[in-house]
């Protein structure tokens, strides 16, 4: 069963990068996994390596040591272009600042990641996803005509357009007030179950922890157990 398999797995991951003359070790041997239908939240103080870890899980960066597997495939040594293909087919992203394209309507923004696949028309799925996040009447609105919460719901719909295995959420409620955050989190939780997708979130928001299945705390590049 797919549920039993770890859809994303980090194994002994070390990430070092150069910062000026110094070499910074952001992650010092991290093991991590997430399963289908599971929401895992990574917490920790600033500079603990949360963002670095999310970048590695999101295949935006590669580890210095250790390995990364997605859906059972070791992607550690994939080239940049191969990682792009993996992100395109298996991952979704939700950002703190929403990052919607201002000149596109809600439905065009949701459709955007799949626009370059001319073989499939995802417009119907885009509309359906927007209806499911309660924006069925805002399809042709541009981002500036939407509230913060509505924008983040568009972003959530966008992250699901390619039927991903994992959705990465970087401070998904960071720019929203408490009530809006709550609705967004309820939305995410529902979609997580409906789409059977793993959600990996990074946050400072205590409220998010109520909705999460598992919390991983990162301190100084190591996971606290």
């Amino acid at each position: 069963m797919a549920q039993a398999v770890n859809v994303i797995e980090l194994d002994g991951v070390v990430k070092r990068y150069r910062s000026g003359r110094n070499v910074v070790e952001a992650l010092k041997g991290v093991d991590f996994h997430a399963r289908h239908g599971e929401m895992v939240t990574i917490i920790g103080p600033s500079g603990s390596g949360k963002s670095t870890m999310l970048n590695l899980i999101g295949l935006l960066d590669t580890p210095t040591e250790g390995s990364v597997s997605l859906d059972g495939t070791d992607v550690t040594d994939f080239t940049g272009d191969e990682l792009t293909e993996e992100r395109r087919s298996k991952l979704g992203f939700v950002f703190q600042a929403f990052h919607l394209l201002p000149m596109l309507t809600a439905v065009e923004n949701v459709e955007l990641p799949s626009r370059w696949d001319t073989s499939v028309d995802r417009r119907d799925r885009a509309i359906e996803l927007l209806e499911r996040v309660g924006l069925g009447d805002r399809l042709d609105h541009t981002p500036e005509e939407l509230s913060g919460g509505q924008k983040q719901r568009v972003a959530i719909a966008r992250s699901l357009i390619n039927e991903p295995d994992v959705v990465l959420a970087d401070e998904p409620t960071g720019n929203l007030d408490q009530d809006t955050s709550r609705t967004i989190l309820e939305e995410l939780t529902r979609l997580k179950e409906e789409e059977d997708v793993a959600i990996v979130a990074v946050t400072h928001d205590e409220q998010l922890l109520e909705y999460t299945d598992r919390v991983v705390e990162l301190v100084d590049g190591r996971i606290q157990s």
């Binding site: 935006l60 792009t84 596109l104």
Partner: protein, 380 residues
Amino acid sequence: MSFRPLRRFPSVEIAWQNLGRNRVRTGLATLGIVIGVVAIVSLGMAGAAIQQQANTDLGSLTSDVIVSSGADSDQDGVTDAQVDDIRSVVVDADVVPQKSNATTLTTRSGERARVSVTGVSQADALYETSAGEAPERLRSGALLSADTAAELGLELGDPVEYDGTLYRLRGFIESDDGFGPGGDELVLPLSALSEQEYYDTVTIVAADGDAATAIADTLEAEFNDEDEEILSVQSFASVQEDINSFLGTLNLALLGIGLISLVVASVAILNIMLMSTIERRGEIGVLRAVGIRRGEVLRMILAEAAFLGIIGGVVGVILSLGAGLVLFEVLAGDATLVFGWESSRYLLYGFGFAVFASVVSGLYPAWKAANDPPVEALRG
């Protein structure tokens, strides 16, 4: 605004939508291109108009071959036999032998004018008249330059005297405002100069400059060799070639000036595209994060640059066409000549250069945006 026909080309469609985001910037970038195109096209067209005008002015001169006695000839002129020989070699052009002299015309009122005298039979082959006629065979009467006639107050039918004989004026020679023979000239029947045994010159009137050159070459080969010049053969086609080559250089120089302005415009586009991609760095990072390939981002930015070139090119071509109409009206006196290939091709060149320069200017920003690591782009 969505542009559905481009649905199959998402990079192009998104690029089109991106252009609408900052209209002022798009407008300024386009304006640069418009100026460049107008500069190139109107300077090119000005060159074409000057060239066309020069060709009209040179007119018949360049299609004439003038034959006179050569340095190694036994006679002081061209003989009847040689004229016959020329006629046998030159088939499809008029061969007009002439004798020439000079005289002073005096009117009853005492006005005097120095004129050159040409004795010729086939007057119509050489002269156009503004009044009266130039007969095919001039046996009696005379033609006089219109300017001289006006100066002397002579009218058609008035007599002029040459060598003790009176000739009635049958026509006035149209003064040629171009190059070539002209000025004060009195044209008489050959018989008037019968004291001269030989012809001074033989004019061969060819269809055009190329035919004139061919005839000149044939005559050279027929009558002369390396050591001996029996007949001196002059063709002015080479003059036209020289003038054309000069005008060609002038044209290139004008185009060069136009190109500079297009280069300036493309530097502006480079700057604007670079600014725009830097400004959108995070956004492009998001595109890369959600799985848009490097090549797709590259095409998107290039398409944006190409759109700037196309829009600027179209507007530039329309404005240039207007400028061209005015130019040709002023320089060549006929605005519709602008549609001839000689000048209209600059519209095509201008447009082509505009698109080309814009795409080239977009290459670096596009490459930079496409190869920016998404992690860096998202952070910045």
